[in-house]
């Protein structure tokens, strides 16, 4: 059992329903504290629907370059890896190969340039790797960019934008002032 760092414990505590924290959310939330999963802190029976643990880790790093943390969470902290993982088994099934190749390429960029994987990379190296990926495989980078922004700014019902965090960031009332409240999001997804 890996020890959850202080940041992760804080996030778990902050959730209103600690029992509802799934392995998937837990991993997404922790992906930014890279050392954790890089040190072998991954589940053999991870419950990602489409990605392997390693792929999810790589993806989290790239997503977090597209939407980094500031005083509001980064993409992976807001559940974007969950969003993309789910849709790779649903609406984005057709992009699975692109992800498999693209994530591999991202790791090989890191290995070639820095001599280690993205997990061990510094913040600056990760940004450089993202820029290099954008140059070397623009098609894939555009795809991840699009999916990351959708997940971060779209409806929380699909697993990203957890607790409507991006909407709050933009100053939108949440739950909304008018109409049904956000309980509609808990009905899960059909897409």
């Amino acid at each position: 059992m890996c020890g959850a760092g202080p940041a992760r414990r804080a996030q778990m505590k902050a959730r209103k329903e600690p029992g509802a924290v799934t392995r998937r959310q837990f991993m997404a939330a922790s992906a930014m504290s890279s050392a954790a999963w890089a040190a072998g802190c991954t589940s053999q029976s991870g419950d990602w629907e489409s990605l392997s643990e390693d792929q999810a880790g790589t993806l989290a790093v790239i997503c977090d370059q597209i939407v980094p943390a500031d005083d509001f969470p980064s993409a992976s902290q807001a559940g974007v890896v969950t969003y993309i993982d789910r849709q790779l088994s649903r609406h984005y099934r057709r992009h699975r190969m692109a992800y498999a190749h693209g994530l591999e390429q991202a790791e090989s960029i890191s290995a070639k340039r820095f001599g280690h994987g993205l997990a061990q990379a510094t913040a600056e190296q990760r940004l450089q790797a993202a820029r290099a990926l954008e140059q070397e495989n623009r098609t894939f980078f555009e795809l991840v960019r699009k999916h990351t922004l959708e997940g971060y700014y779209g409806s929380p019902r699909h697993g990203g934008n957890r607790d409507a965090v991006s909407w709050r960031m933009l100053g939108l009332a949440e739950p909304p002032v008018r109409g049904r409240a956000r309980d509609v999001f808990s009905k899960g997804t059909r897409s």
Binding site: P68, D70, Y153, S155, G179, S191
Partner: protein, 550 residues
Amino acid sequence: MKRVNAVVVGAGAAGGIVARELATAGLSVVLLERGKWYTANDCRKDDLRNQRTTVLGNAFGPEDEGNPRVWVDSRGEANVVLPSEGAYQNNAACVGGGTLSYGAMAWRFMPQDFRMRSTYGAPQGSSLEDWPIGYDDLEPFYDKAEYEIGVSGDESGNPFHGPRRRGLPMPPLPPNREFGILEPAAKRLGLHPFPIPMLRNSVPYNGRGECMRCRWCVGFACEVDAKNGSQNTVIPSALATGNCELRTQCMVREILTDERGRARGVSYFDEKGRLQEQLSDIVVVSACAIESARLLLNSKSRLFPDGLGNRYDQVGRNLQGHHYTGAMGFFDFETYDDVGPGASIAISDYNHGTPGLCGGGLLANEFIRLPIHTLDRLPPGTPRWGAGHKRAMREFHRRTMIVMGPTQQIPTADGRVTLDPAVEDQWGLPVARLSGNSHPHTFEIGEVQARRAEAWLKEAGAVETSLMAGRPEIVSSGQHQAGTCRMGDDPHGSVVNRNCQVHDVDNVFVIDGSVHVTNGGFNPVLTIMAIAYFASDALVRNWKGTGFRS
């Protein structure tokens, strides 16, 4: 299955009205709809899956699976496209059609819009034509649509509209913040701003309440049922007559004809995929411009080897919609107030009368935007990702206004719908194949309109602006699709007569946007509704027992 007087194919804006008018006149009607019947409870507030933002698919049909189309691009290459992709030019597949989830702008066309060729002459290479009917013919039916479906607004500040017998049944919604900023700016420019007429309750009307002004508007089913479409007005009222039966999830395969070339009904796949026949005295096709044309083309027989009504190769031609252009304005103060429907103010100053331009279009502020709509609508030079993009989202989501409008398209004969020779849908029917484009003059008008929108935003205090004016490689038809079964007096250049009756098959009617000769510089739905009332009126007047004369 019991023979009926009329089968209506498609329960959208027009089909719902036709069903209701025929049923009220005592005809027995079967209304067939390929989609489902959704209600206000189906407003899922899903920013990624609705009829406007189809990142994860359409909320109100069709599904991506089993419903492809083919788009031929400018290099002549055929691409299979899915309903959630832009090139598909989707509207909707459900009871109510587009009216369940639309933005609900309720425009009348202007008198000039029915006489485009006489007013401007046809640009070379275009198929610009006059309508066989005029504004005055439709005026009583515009009025009927405004009162029966329900329109709010106040056009007294618009000096450009055609004559009208009375005002609208509901006052406009109170102005939002964008209205308050844009109105004085327009006036300073010598323009004539006024509130946008909307098929939306501003006060309780027709037994339903008023708009609660939420953020989930265009693209969504209205959660409080304050948006007026055929699904909550004429269709329930058609069913209440006892003369109309609505069958959902029924996909019509073809119009059946007899030895003499008259229609005898339709064959369709029911909700379980079984092939059924519904015999009838008349068939009304109201499936929206692309699917209506496809159904006629798929209705081949010995007498109609190239499709019903297609003797002169006119079915599917003149596909048009609107070429949207405009500008974004970025402000150093908050313009966003989180009050729907957002779109509130318009000008009609630029629809007609600019020397050198064949028409123009209305300009209005855009519907309320969800964060997902702002991602690529940030000031020029904004980083596309990273900390800079996130910062710009925070800075500008609430400090941006968009003014844009539907430039009236100049149609061409080769902007068209045909049948794809290879691709079939889930029922094994050849799918629509879209090819060609608008006339290039359309894009020139659109560019002028974009600069006008920009000037309005600058006058309103925009510190930075960005033009939105492209030259798409495809006829932008989508939710405003029209023109594919043109109305006209000459069978060689049109598909239906002024009463929407197919020229050489007197008991088949096409009643929807397909019959539009030109599509106005306005959202077309109120005109589609007016034509449905107009054509139903003629049909009922000519109806004689189980037949009719024309």
